[in-house]
Amino acid sequence: MVTGNNKTSTREIKIVRKVLDVNETIAAQNRKTFAGKNVFVLNVMSSPGSGKTATLEKTLSRIMPEIRTAVIVGDVCTSNDADRLAVSGAPVVQVNTDAFGGDCHLAAHVIKTAVGNFELEEIDFLIVENLGNLVCPAEFDIGEDLRVVVLSVTEGEDKPIKYPLMFRVCDAALLNKIDLLPYLDYDKKETLKNIRQVNPNMPVFEISAKTEEGFEFWIDWLKQNIKKKIK
């Protein structure tokens, strides 16, 4: 290329780095910290309004005090969810991501900072309630042991195929609000078919956080997973 009298050329500099490698490094450090302190970590994700907080309220009431649990709650603003979960007696830390540029997910460094608020020796189980969003949280490893996605029957049957990454990276799905099924034109079989299409071996727990229908299967599965790590 010739510009005026000065010849210029282009130099290509190879980088070959993962865009999220800083996050992945911190997630690996978190994972090591949790392993060292024998803490099992669950990352709970969903779209807004699927009933994550209600599901966790009922989950906490069934596993505590047998399993010593703490919670990190992520929201863009407000501490409403943390206030609801603190009623259980579990230590709760609210993370508001407006302090982190209004992020739509919890990144590994945010978890690392939030964990500093707990005495990890006194905890067996840490629940991270991620921000209501089916896109970005799927991409950000936080150092967790297990991921679950909550989906409710008031959402479309096609959510799993619209957000395939979320349903690929999660270890189980909770299909919530099944108490509403008699009042809805909802094709549950279609939803289950869509989940199986994206993740054929994914366990699906049909629950109602309101009536606690189906909770025994979810809690049994969760406890089995926790006890695999926490002897």
């Binding site: 210029t8 282009t10 500099i13 195929i161 299409q197 993740n199 054929p200």
Partner: protein
């Protein structure tokens, strides 16, 4: 937005010392079709966060990587356009994702003035 910021940060840190002050012309990235990134949104965010950096005039060149999966039982690989993650041969669900989750920066291109 966070992803665009990371791209700007990593690219800026990769400019060699002898080219400090030079304008970056292109940033080449690989984005898997299964990643949580929409190319148009990423370009938009990149334009905003690259302002006042050596990347302010750079084009973000996105190479989209198809989703390739592999059946662990049949040992065959194929490309998918729809999110159907079961084996096309045995219908089993034991599949690995070979590609499609990329979120990588491959290179930057910088204009050099020849002496």
């Amino acid at each position: 937005m966070g992803i665009a910021m990371q791209i700007v940060e990593i690219s800026t840190a990769s400019i060699p010392a002898d080219l400090m002050g030079a304008q970056v012309e292109k940033v080449n990235v690989k984005i898997g079709k299964l990643s949580a990134v929409v190319p148009e949104s990423l370009r938009f965010c990149f334009q905003i966060v690259s302002q006042d950096t050596p990347l302010c005039n750079a084009s973000l060149i996105i190479e989209e990587i198809p989703i390739v999966i592999k059946c662990l039982d049949c040992n065959i690989e194929w490309t998918i356009d729809e999110p159907i993650f079961s084996c096309q041969k045995c219908n089993g669900g034991a599949v690995d994702i070979v590609s499609g989750r990329e979120l990588d920066i491959s290179s930057i291109e910088i204009a050099e003035r020849d002496e």
